[in-house]
Symmetry: D3
Subunit: 308 residues, 6 copies
């Protein structure tokens, strides 16, 4: 069989049949929590960290997915094993988990604010990582742009829960593409502090130290946590503080940390070059250490990849 | 044939087959705009107003649904005509429109902030209004509760666009149900002003005048617009201003305006009785005028309805 | 008998014996709501308006004073009648109402957030208005100063409820007196808008119109309501809007409205002269109309008064 | 003699006669600063720390209490010695200090923003700690609830000064009791950060570290300082940062620190269980160390206490 | 003589010699207030309105320019008369007034916060209006862009005073030009409301009404005032309210009002077309009425102008 | 020759001829970045640090001054050498750098938001430090006052860039002088946190530690950096956090760090004495260490100086 499987509500189904009824609260409310894990050598990387965060998000939403974390882990491993079997040896998988509170029982109830969900919807699926699409990140670096739209503050939806009520990202991305069609949105918070991109944490380097926005307004990224561990191992100081665009413009280096490609140098902000516009020495040391950890030369894997 | 139809991406499909693939941006990002219209005597009420707002939202999102407003209207009328034929004569329909930007082309692209949508997803569907579920609104009134979670501010996602990135409503509803399982969430904005409930506009009456929050933080509801027109016809003053909980506690009356049941008296806030705890004279005059307009005794229809 | 009486918890007591036990929540928490009414010709002015607001505040606090509004009115009238009998004919009374939730049952309970009050404390008392102390307001006008301390926002304590948690006024007054020992504090809100003084509403005149801050951040003063009525009678437009210091500096006139002396010209802000530094024509017209309403020449009464 | 004494304005008076005249600014303005100390084995614990903070508050208010800190200490010790003599041996005392700016000289002056206080009011009193009332804190833990009302920000009244303008706590407690009559209010600040409860500091444990809100919005509690010292002694890391409800929901442990019962496990927030819903190992270690420090098994004392 | 004159500190000097010493507070602090007036048929338009606002700004700054408003008017008229004599008949003049507090007496004093200015600097100068540069505004309309930088709030510098501390505009313009080199910056305020462009007020049309941001965050423009008068004359409703980008995207029309070219249609915001992307009927009616008022066909004058 | 030289746009000119044309954007927009360096023994102190910050500011503004940092350094040294030759041996120089984007090409373009600058204006000049004016800082200490005006937030203009859009400082200073004509303005930010004075960083000492506001809202001062280095050398802890007025009132010491006089004790805030009102031991140790570093007894130099 040549089709990937998807775990959906307790069953393995072919990817082509993986869909949600239009009454699902993931569609009706965007009330979905999610995670993305990637493989190295086709084995999931830090899967337990991702599932730990998923269950923290579910606890915050007060949603019981009906599977224990251990069961979720087992199913995830099975799914990766199966779907990886359909890949070329040089490919990797992205692994997505998402959970919604289930379907609205009476549709109009929702309109009246009385939505009573059914059993939660649990979905796990994979896709081949489009490694070739990221080559330009390592060659030229990422251009981040701060649009006028601000990040949703934690007293509305806490970004520490990875969730899919992301209309503000959609609207912000449209603004960002006006500046540069290949740029990435970096949202400011309501006070004008740097937060994160839609898929990555943002970090900068000043005087040899890695600086991060505080956790108030950002996802506590699993990849960011890897960076913290690698900094510790390499003797690089890591600190959190409120950062503004001025800090980025005058940083020695800046980079993103994220599941799909681990890290990427960030070389421009709002059209201004950061540092000398090239991946910096701290980035390179961290990336090399990460490649060691993963057992894969991450940059080479991307630069040598081809479209699937 | 006894199954309702759903309009989905250009085709009429049986309701049981109406689902979205898990790559749809409505699921991945909650980047969905939506409308809900209801029927009176099984004919849509103010459909053009709802479609007008839908197309304003699409313009704001910069999404072209691929159908003109006129085509959308025609399809909606057809759908209502067909599905109403499956109802008892005393039933009414809710009519939902929703549009998403379509599917993510490369899934992981989304994680990298580079989501490029395909053709937008357009869905129109209906459901029988659960009129009997609202009887207690007319008998006892609605109890609104202001939880600690605040409404998303317009510099993040403008609530003037009806959209489905509604995680904050889901989280807030959980808090509200701790106070009273039957209560309705009334969100405050970041400055502590009254905004709206998840499915209705909030209005109060003081010294014979109907007062509404300003449009800064709320949906410009079609039903709210009907209230404005009816106020004008009945010689009742209508004004917008920032309102706080203190205003509600000390209002003469308060009520909700919303598509499914038009209006409902709001008789309690945070456990405190508003006015004398009964539907007030201004509410009653407006509701009577609306019934005239609709050609249906709206309250009687609800009170006499039975579960479908 | 020559001593004033005080109504305290159902009994009339001599003023010298009017005190609260140190366990009263008025002392422990400042959780007190209050009103001040004055007399003209020794009869209370707008007593019903003040009692109406008192009962709105009690409803907001969810405190039942144990007396109906009608009983409170009757007792107040009795008290004024008795205590006015001790005055010279040219004197007037101030009449204070205040209500606290009563005493803490177990003191340390309060420290643990479990304060359970006993029966509410209800107190009504009077004092001779120190009319002579206000002569300089009519001769020179009031100097308002905006200190660095900001008004408590309505999402903490709504200033529409007249209450005695007023530490911010105490601290702000200290700052104000550094500028001018005779100046009056005019607090800004968190956004820098003009709000009110500790005892009066603030109003200004521009192009013949009286402008007031919006009701979001201020007490809806009974005297301010009188000004609105007088404006209506005199054909002077009255409007509410957000006002800043710049508006005051460039106003044609500014004035306070307040129970004790009804109105006072405000002729300086932060050391800058407003208008020509004299009571303006709109102030004078309104004051004359108020004197008509009260049956007393209010300014003359103050200017001719002598210390009691 | 069987009645406790109260120190009031320079004199020792029987508790039953301890009251303030209704013109005291503690009643009129809530302009009171206060402290609460408790005894262990009927001797005051950390009295000097409490008096140090009292005098810092007085300096901030610019009020001179007329007694030096040393005199205040001596009187406090005397009072405790006398009043403890009236207790059973297994009882403890709470010791309250409060200071107000004194009485308003001319009542109506206050209404005009010209309040000139007389000599400050200084009061010191005691009460038997109701130890038995806290048993459920140690058995079940505290349920904290975040109501919609927000903490007063430091640019209005700085919570670093313990003060009695606490109407917002009174209003917030009413909301909290709607969720759970035994719950404790945990206020958020205007940005949605965790602050404190009305009588305690809030702390959580994550990955073995004790985390506290920053000092921006909270009382720098004497008991919190004890926790810091005990953490230092036990080799437990302690750090300050902005914390949100999401952090609490996903903490390993949470607890309160406060004078009356030193510490209490916090096992629920907004109806969600924290950790495993039981006092955690860090709490237990700290509590044991505190008992050592105090020479009293604090938990046992509470669990074995009986109503006085 | 062929050189324009400049009025500088009491003397008429040739334009080529009009400069400020580097110790002027206009250079050192940007502490400058300014006005710009234009001519029609080479006569100043609404000069008194501009001077009125200039003197209000000076009052707010507490700076006495040393000339009365009448003297300033007379000098301005003389200057225009002289400099207009150097123009072609089809040209118009811009007339600039600016006043600074003068020179710092001791330079380093400024660094220590002790700047004591000398006599204020008063400058009046003119320049030929570059009418031809604005043709594209009338042909294609203005494209406004909302950058991430926000307008300075009135509690820092009140924008009701036209002033030259405009670094935020400089920084914002750089962001705007990334989107479109010909676009105009439209700043949002800290809450995400529309304010103004660097040189114009922003207005929109919805349902036949002209809507403006409130005066809280914007210059009360003299041209905006002309629009209000023309609306009144033409029976077009004019109202102020908080407006957001969503309102602009969905407006029927939008336009700028400003001294140099009076009004210009605004046809795009953030790359989205407003209305049908053409000057709308309300704009056209107002512009025609303005041309009547000015005695000049304003649009034709621009479209037919040629570079000077 | 006895006149100081000024470097202006590539040329050395006599000070009396150093002026900017009225079309310079430094005058029109206040769009100027600046630095101030001082000499010790007539040699520039930390010139490279100041130039480093100047070039960071220019990068943020995207302005290329046309000189490399090395050239700027060389010219600065030359200028100091020349101008110091005109001084008495006991005098020191202040050295100012400022850069503007140049002149507006078409004046009215600016009014239309289309300002296109010419070549940047680069100016370097000096002045004799008025050492004698600061004697009272060392004798009595500085009195800081927090006026009602707030510091411009970094999402408008980032104070990490030293710039000359300083109208808010001008307005705030006027308020401050009402309290005390010799006082220095200490601005609060929008949340009420301490920021900085117009020419100095603010620091306080508590429990032996030096505490500073965070870098969010303040200039990262070169002198502040010297303090950090000296603290490190002397074993004094240095930490950043949000500080409020309450922290200052109750600090053990407070002081300013600034280029002209390095440090000054701050002994009063809003009329309240800080610590014992005298320079404290931490200040004295730091100042002594700084004198060592500079090779000049800084305090003695000031106290023994005479007017130039």
């Amino acid at each position: 069989m040549t089709e990937s499987l998807v775990f959906l509500n307790g069953r393995m189904v072919p990817e082509s049949q993986a869909s949600l009824r239009i009454y699902d609260m993931g569609i009706v409310l965007g009330a979905t929590t999610t995670e993305m894990t990637r493989t190295f050598r086709q084995r999931p990387f830090r899967l337990l960290d991702h599932l730990g965060r998923l269950y923290r998000s579910l606890r915050y939403m007060n949603v019981d997915p009906g599977l224990s974390r251990e069961e979720m882990e087992r199913v995830s491993e099975e799914l990766v094993a199966h779907n990886a079997g359909l890949l070329r040896a040089d490919q990797e998988l992205g692994l997505i988990h998402f959970v919604t509170p289930g379907e609205v029982k009476t549709y109009a109830g929702s309109a009246a604010g009385q939505a009573e969900p059914s059993r939660p919807t649990v979905c796990i699926h994979t896709f081949p990582l489009p490694l070739h699409m990221w080559a330009h990140f390592f060659r030229e670096g990422v251009h981040v742009v701060t649009p006028s739209i601000r990040h949703v503050p934690p007293q509305c939806v806490d970004p520490k829960m990875k969730n899919r009520s992301r209309m503000h990202w959609f609207l912000a991305d449209r603004e960002t593409r006006l500046v540069d069609p290949k740029a990435t949105t970096l949202l400011l918070d309501l006070e004008g502090n740097i937060t994160e991109t839609s898929g990555a944490n943002f970090l900068l380097v000043r005087d040899g130290r890695v600086l991060s926005p505080t956790l108030r307004n950002i996802l506590p990224g699993v990849s960011r946590q890897v960076v913290i561990e690698l900094c510790d191992r390499l003797g690089i100081a890591f600190a959190e503080r409120d950062l503004q665009v001025h800090d980025v413009v005058n940083a020695d280096e800046a980079f993103l940390s994220t599941t799909p490609y681990c890290m990427a140098p960030c070389t421009k902000i709002n059209g201004l070059t950061i540092g000398d516009g090239k991946p910096g020495p701290v980035f390179n040391r961290l990336m090399a250490a990460w490649s060691d950890l993963a057992g894969v030369d991450i940059v080479a894997q991307v630069l040598e990849s081809r479209a699937g």
